[in-house]
Every structure is written in C-alpha cells, then in structure tokens.
Symmetry: C2
Subunit: 337 residues, 2 copies
C-alpha cells in the first residue's frame, strides 16, 4: 500500500477563493469524495492577483498545518482563460493583475510539489468525470449555466482543451441568428437566451410590457406596485422566475422555456458534432425544475440525429466541481511522477 | 531501411468503387502522394454488397498482380455508417446487402494482411491530415459539401469518431430554427441551407417566382423559354448557379450566399465548441469561387469568439481524400504490427 499523502486543490473563482485537501489513501481505498479539510472565503472587493494569492496561500497553510501526511501535488481551477500546457493564467475578467501570471511555477516554488492549472470549465468537467455525475462515461461535455454559459470536454477519458484552450464555449454558439444581441456582439447565442441574468431580464421586460400576466411572479417579487414603480426589478432573478414557473406562472415559464429550448438546440448540435456519451449540466439555471429538464432534453434529442445517443444528467458536485477537478489534476501529477 | 511493401486502399463510394496502392518505401522517402497504381469503376446500377465486393476484389487483384513488393495492409473508406472499432459496416444508404457486414474480417481472410475500415468522412479527414491540406495541423475538422454535408475530426493527431461513430455531423447542426425543413425533419440544418441540391432547388424556385431576375443563370441553363416550360430545371445545378454567380448574376449569388453564411455559422459554432486549429473544406459546393469563400470565412470568424483562432483551407485531395485516408489507415496497421 502507498503511504498516505495529501492532494491540495485550489479554486480561484470570480467572487470566492476555496481550498480543499484530500488524502490519497482514502481516495484509493474508497474512491469516495470526502474532504480531509476544506476552506472557503469571499474574494474581498477591490482585490487583485497578489492579494488573492496571499489569501489563498493562507487557506492552504491553514489546511496543511495540522496534516500529518506530506503534500504530494496541487491542482488549480482558475475562473478565467488559462494556458494549461504552460501553467499560465492569461487574465481574469474579474480581478486585475493576473495577466500572463505563471501560476504553476509560482505554486511549485512555494509548495515544493508538482502543480497543474486549468480553467474552471475544464476543471469542472474533470471533477464531474472523476468524482461526480460523469463517472463511467469516457466522453462527456460538462456545461454550467449560471451568470454565463460555459463548458468543458472529456474525450477518451482526457480533457480536450482545444488549440487555444478555448474548447467548450457552447455559450457562444449561435442557435438563432435572428435572436437578440449577445454581449459578444452576435445574435442568438446560447448564453444570450439561457443564462440566468438574461432569463431574469426577459421576465422583467415582459412584466412591464404585459401588465395582465405574471400574477404569481409579481407576488413573489414583492407585489405589483413595487414592479410598476421599478423598485422590485432587482428582486426578479432567474431563481425567482423558476419558483414562479413551478407554481404555475405562465409568463415565468415562457421566459424559462426559451432558455430550455436554446440549451437543447446547443446540446443537440454539440452531440451531432462531437458525439460524446454524456452531457453533465450544472449551474443555477439547471435547478429550474422538471419541466425545464423535460423541454431541454426533448429539444436536444430532436436536434440530434437518431443515431446519436447520449445521456443528459445533472451535475453532482455543484459549485465544488472545479475544486474536485483540482483534485483530479493533482492526482494526475502524482501518477506522472 | 525497411524493405518495400505495398499499402492497399479501397473506397466504396455510393456510385463508384476505387482501389489504389502505394509503396511504403516511397512514402517513407518522399512523403509525397503518388499512386503506385490506381483503378476506378462506376458501381453498376442494381448492384448489391456482394457484387460490389467482387468488383472491388477484381480491382485489387489487378493492382497487385504486377507488384513485386508484398502487400502489408489494407485500409478502407466506406460511404456509410461504420463501426470502426469492430471493422463492421453497419449499412449503406445506396447499396443493399451491407447490413452488419464484417468487412475488416472479410478482407483479412482473403488478403492475409491486417485491415482497417472507417466511414468516408473520417477517412477523408485522415487523408487530408496525413497527405493533404491538413498536414502540420494536429487538430482539424474536415468538411465535405456536396450532395450532403458531412465531416470528420482529427484531434491530437488521431481520428475522433465519437461514442457512436457519428462525430462530425455538422450537416445536421441547426443554424436557423426558423429555416426550411430538412430531410432529417428539423429546420435550418447546415445541409438544408448549404448542400448542392438545395442550392440548386433554391435557385429554381426563385427563377420561377422572380421572372425579372437571373438573366445570366437563365441563359446558361439553355434560355428562359426552357425554364418557363420546366424543361431546363434539371440543368440548374449548384455548379451552374456558381458559374452564373461568378458572371455577375445576383439571383444566383444570393442562392449561394445563403449556403456560405450557413456554413460559416456552422464552422464558427464548431470552432467555439471544439477549437480545432483548422477546417479543411472539400466537395463541389466549396468550388463556388472567391466570393463564396470570403463570405463563409468572414461569417465563421464573426461567429467564433475573438480568442478562438483557426484556418479555413480548401481540401487538397478532392474526391481522393477518402482513398488517401485508406492509405493512412493501412499505414497505421503496419506501425501497429
């Protein structure tokens, strides 16, 4: 039996920093996902790369301080573009100072063990594949639908990152060239139709334009007078829209249905193009209920050719998927050495 | 130096049967694509699997009869669904009798050398990657746009066939959910908008509906009276539409432009999803001229995110791409043994 060692996983999210450690012997024995230790803190407002790195190293030291087993490797999920081959963070869209930061080297120097770095979508795919809903599938696409719509691939049991590390950008595939304009400048991207903020925006616009509809959603948001005065508009989130839809609100359901159909077409197109065995879906919008899943799944199957088979399953690891991907990245480092 | 041996490639197309042989020593020395011998015959009307196999074995025996070097391996491109892992033809949409035919085993028994079988899209991708326009790219998508729109992937220098061997079906990705109905039952598939027969059909419909337009196309098709009487409609092919467009016919160009845009969106979506280094485009419709390529390429780049980079290049091997893929399949068999 191998001696017990620790794998450290770090997740630099846009708004929070998380560190977790697992024991190799426990992983080997049970294959279960159980943290030996785990710490999460919000990324403070006005932070930069240096301050986030200091906070994260504090979390890591804290985790490792009481450990009796030595550290074997570290795996990192980063919420932004990464050159995984070179272990380089390219930039962060949320936090300044990350441009061309050699994070792998930085960590290897400080921790004295091998490190690997990937973006959060690829790390999430790897986490779900190794420890979550993707176990047993040798090809899958992981899709996360929340503020944005991102994704990552596992093909032949390995991450497929693409020539520029950009593979998996299902959020910016076009499914309706006559649709509304996306932040990226194109019309009818999956993200423009299916992400949480756009579901909420659609519901708000319809509430204003259709005063006789959306009774339940109006009530949940604090009452119609607040909506008419514009005060309740911020209360209308994709989550509230899903709640209203679950209670029978037609307007809320129609706002969600557009998201379900767009995602379904995006998934069906991805199935025809790449033919993976499974799609693993996470993120807040995918918690919108049974009807959402039914329409999304049916649209995906109708869009795919009859000979193209795949499962569509909910993610099992929630917000921790990228962190578990960090564990898998660390684990691969140990296997390599 | 290795002794000279021959690699045999067979291409079972929908309407023609082709066999070619190359010498391993010449491949190794020059890397050039030059047939040692090559034979092509039309698949006779009313043929079935058995008769096509007999004709093909005749071609192969003919090729090998005068050879002084021994046969090393055989690689096959088949125009229909194939289970490459098992070397099994699943069926042909053109020729009866191919259902569940163990073609690899059948050839290995008769020829006494290792064989490999793949479908024509994957074989075409492999051919262009190894011997054609895809040389030097370690990831690419090969797309052929003619009667249908098909495709195949090379990822990490290897064919990616997908969980059901169906990867690459870009022709049936949806790019316009409000578009016309495709043979597959969906609306706005790339194939429905971009394949040769549909480009021709669109031009015919517009000629009928818009009697004042399409002067050049009408003349090329044999004159307006023939079109009005319905006699010239068969003369209007995608090739003729492209000729008329090149001579300045607006109606013809608009019929082609829809194809160029649909292909561009399909390529851009595939780039965002998989991020390959290159798209290699073959098939009759892609010979439609500079303006077609310009619109297709621009649309693809506008559809892809700015961080996603790729080349779009014309195929180099034409109709022989699948046969050259057969050579590459045979070559891989020799390396394995």
């Amino acid at each position: 039996m191998e001696p017990e060692r620790l794998l450290l996983a770090l997740d630099f999210g846009g708004t929070k920093l998380t560190a977790g450690a697992v024991s190799t012997s426990e992983l080997a024995a049970s294959g279960e996902r159980r943290w030996w230790a785990h710490r999460r803190v919000p990324s403070p407002p006005g932070s930069n790369a240096q301050s986030d790195l200091e906070i994260m190293m504090g979390l890591a030291r804290d985790l490792l301080a009481t450990a009796e087993a030595p550290l074997a490797a570290v795996g990192v999920s980063f919420g932004g573009p990464v050159d995984a081959a070179r272990g380089l963070v390219l930039l962060s869209h949320h936090v300044p100072g990350w441009e061309e930061m050699p994070l792998r080297e930085w960590l290897e120097e400080r921790l004295g063990v091998p490190a690997a770095v990937d973006n959060d979508a690829n790390a999430g795919a790897l986490g779900e594949y190794r420890f979550g809903a993707g176990q047993g599938y040798d090809s899958l696409m992981y899709i996360t639908v929340s503020t944005g719509v991102g994704g990552g691939w596992i093909l032949n049991g390995q991450p497929w990152r693409g020539a520029d590390g950009m593979a998996g950008e299902i959020g910016h595939t076009v499914v309706d060239p006559d649709g509304p304009v996306c932040l990226c400048g194109k019309r009818g991207c999956v993200e423009r139709l299916a992400s949480g903020p756009y579901v909420a925006q659609r519901a708000r616009e319809w509430l204003k334009a259709q005063p006789d509809r959306g009774r339940i959603l109006r009530a949940l948001a604090g009452g119609d007078p607040l909506i008419r005065s514009g005060q309740a508009l911020e209360a209308i989130t994709a989550k509230l829209v899903a709640q209203a839809a679950a209670q029978g609100d037609d307007l809320a359901w129609e706002a969600l249905e557009i998201a379900a159909r767009a995602l379904g077409v995006g998934i069906g197109n991805a199935a025809n193009l790449v033919n993976p065995r499974c799609f693993v879906l996470g993120g807040g919008v995918t918690k919108a209920g049974e009807r959402f899943w039914e329409v999304m799944g049916r649209t995906a199957r109708e869009t795919a050719l009859p000979e193209v088979h795949f499962d569509v399953v909910p993610a099992a690891l929630g917000d921790d998927a990228p962190l578990w991907g960090g564990v898998a990245l660390a684990e691969a480092q140990v296997r390599c050495t």
